[in-house]
């Protein structure tokens, strides 16, 4: 029990990073919080599946992303729009955000999810290539090439907007 109390404390500390990653997936603040909540509930229900000694954040990123992919699948089964519909104003509501934050968020939002997740986990969350590849369930070579393509695409988008 002491062990699971410790994990729970760590989970609380992870919430801001989980929300950030979730937003990069959902591109909607409210959806992201729902997603994080769902992922936390899942994780708490299967804490025994987390391998001690591995990164808890990686494990949580995996759960967040898989939960999101499940949600997308069931949305498309229900005939609903995906996350790219126009009904939600993407995270732009927070006036405190700097201009560059918005520019980066929008640029990221134009990338395919598979590239976006690679960029988020490696460049923003600081996972190693190997850790990110495991979290995403892909070979490290695939991660490396998605990362390279994602970086090029990001640069292209940001470059266009600057010019």
């Amino acid at each position: 029990m002491d062990d699971s109390e410790r994990i729970k404390r760590e989970l609380v500390e992870l919430i801001p990073r989980l929300r950030r990653f979730a937003r990069s997936l959902t591109r909607d603040v409210a959806d992201a919080d729902d997603l994080v909540q769902l992922a936390l509930e899942k994780a708490l229900g299967r804490l025994d599946q987390w391998q001690r000694g591995t990164r808890l954040d990686s494990w949580m990123f995996t759960i967040v992303r898989n939960t999101w992919l499940d949600e997308l699948r069931s949305r498309s089964r229900r005939g609903e729009f995906g996350p790219l519909d126009e009904q939600h104003e993407p995270a732009a509501v927070d006036a405190a955000r700097t201009e560059d934050t918005l520019a980066i968020q929008q640029a990221l939002g134009r990338l395919p999810e598979e590239q976006r997740s690679c960029l988020m986990l490696v460049l923003v969350e600081g996972l190693s290539y190997q850790e990110a590849a495991s979290a995403l369930g892909i070979p490290i070579g695939t991660l490396t090439s998605r990362l390279a393509r994602g970086r090029d695409a990001l640069q292209a988008v940001l470059g266009t907007e600057a010019g």
């Binding site: 929300r19 936390l40 229900g45 955000r97 460049l123």
Partner: protein, 257 residues
């Protein structure tokens, strides 16, 4: 040698081993354009991280914190005495490991003696449980399971499943059971050649794996009534698989004798 853009990216991200790194260092000395490319990769990384750092500053919604804290609340209740607490924790772990399937489905109706007959049905009750002037005893089916089944080796589809085996305050060996066919669960203690039923609960029961769609939380794995009845009577900790097998060999005679 060929210096690919990907190699430069991996260099910038600190992903190269020392030998590869040295090779890139050499190449950069020969071609400054490669160095500028590495700088560009690092600048992009820094820009991205800096731009999104502000998102970590936002206050966390209470409901997200609550998800975790609520989960903490299902931990077993605090008990003053440490050894009792340890025993109780072990008991709870064993119960979870055993994964009592009646869980939430179990109606919280406690039946004793004659009441059994009405609730379970006279005929069924006669074969399941037997009343005598000495009390309530297990009928042939449950008695057979209690006498011969080991919790660790029983079939998940058995009609009667045995759960915990423990010694009660009188030094008798007791075992919890779930009779799926009769929708009955409880625990019984070995008295001579008989199993005296100390507690019986009725309720719709299902075998493991038959529950559908229900979210099963840790606390709902076993009827709280049964759990607290066992807790009230147990002496020490439940028997582990080895001790259980030994007790079977010894025909469930009181361990003290």
């Amino acid at each position: 040698m060929q210096i690919s853009d990907e190699l430069l990216m991996r260099y910038a991200d600190g992903e190269l081993d020392p030998i590869e790194r040295a090779r890139v260092d050499d190449a950069v000395r020969a071609d400054p354009a490669l160095g500028r490319r590495i700088t560009a990769f690092r600048a992009q990384r820094d820009r991205l991280a800096r731009a999104l750092a502000s998102e970590l500053e936002e206050p966390v919604p209470d409901r997200l914190r609550m998800v975790i804290e609520r989960a903490a609340a299902v931990a077993p209740p605090r008990i003053a005495d440490l050894s009792e607490r340890r025993a109780r924790k072990r008991l709870a772990d064993r119960i979870l490991a055993w994964s009592w399937p009646e869980a939430g489905a179990l109606a919280a109706s406690l039946l004793l003696g004659a009441l059994i007959a009405q609730q379970v049905g006279q005929k069924r009750a006669e074969s399941t449980l037997r009343t005598s002037s000495d009390g309530l005893f297990a009928g042939p089916t449950i008695a057979q399971a209690l006498s011969t089944q080991l919790a660790s080796r029983q079939s998940p589809t058995a009609d009667v499943r045995v759960g915990l085996t423990f010694e009660n305050q009188r030094g008798e060996l007791c075992r919890t059971f779930a009779d799926h066919a009769a929708s009955l669960s409880g625990f019984a203690c070995r008295i001579g050649r008989e199993w005296r039923v100390e507690m019986a609960l009725s309720g719709a029961s299902s075998r493991p794996g038959e529950q559908q769609g229900a979210v099963r939380t840790a606390g709902s794995e076993m009827s709280p009534d049964l759990l607290s009845a066992v807790e009230a009577q147990i002496r020490g900790e439940p028997l582990d698989a080895t001790a259980e097998a030994k007790a079977l060999q010894n025909d469930w005679r009181p361990p003290g004798r």
